[in-house]
Symmetry: C2
Subunit: 112 residues, 2 copies
DNA sequence: CGTGTAAGGAATTCTGACACG
DNA sequence: CGTGTAAGGAATTCTGACACG
């Protein structure tokens, strides 16, 4: 019932590789983090770790900035998209709850 | 017609992350490379880069070694599996060729 | 054979700051 | 605002070798 959680979202890529993958400078990558557009994890020693999803997001961010969109605007866009997604999740769960209440599908007290 | 080529096979993970992901020591990881069981790429500076597929393979290798299988045996197993896969590919391509010759599906000179 | 470790060096990454526009 | 850069330091990685069993 959970998501794939497989490779795409695992934070395992260091900044140098991300630089090579995206063509961005390390300065740019760190700056977008400073502007709250990207959220790498950290190794115990403090090195940033990114996922493939992060890499793709970085490219999108860079494209928007090239189009003259400011980081603050990009951030607001992302928050809006985030909120919409959350709402979708809530809706989906509510509907699922309704269905379960009405028909008691799966996960009901099976044995005992 | 080509494969996914997406995330799983991209060599983007440094050895420290692989260590954390697998629980193996860097010594072990480098040794398995020395024994031709694993083939990381290198950064321009010489740092090893692994894929998620490599990470999974390393775990399998480590399990076999725990079972007392020697690296040389593991290597032979891998070569056998490799050969079998190649044969499968060849067979698939031959059959595809037969089909194309018989029925001329797709890729035939369509327009012009 | 498979792995740990200390050794020395090189590559990688980090932060805070100054610069430009 | 977004990015380049030089600066100094710390974390990361590399290789070759000795050790053990």
């Amino acid at each position: 019932m959970a998501n794939d959680s497989s490779y795409k979202d695992k934070k395992v890529i260091t900044i140098g590789i991300v630089r090579d993958l995206t063509g961005l400078s390390e300065r740019q990558i760190r700056y977008y983090e400073e502007r709250k557009l990207i959220f790498p994890e950290r190794s115990p020693g403090g090195s940033r770790k990114y996922s493939f999803a992060d890499v793709e997001l970085l490219v999108e961010i860079a494209n928007k900035i090239e189009d003259g969109v400011q980081t603050h605007e990009i951030r607001k866009e992302m928050l809006r998209a985030q909120k919409k997604q959350n709402q979708t999740d809530v809706t989906r769960k509510m509907i699922q709850g309704q269905l379960n209440a009405q028909f008691g599908l799966r996960k009901g007290p099976s044995s005992k």
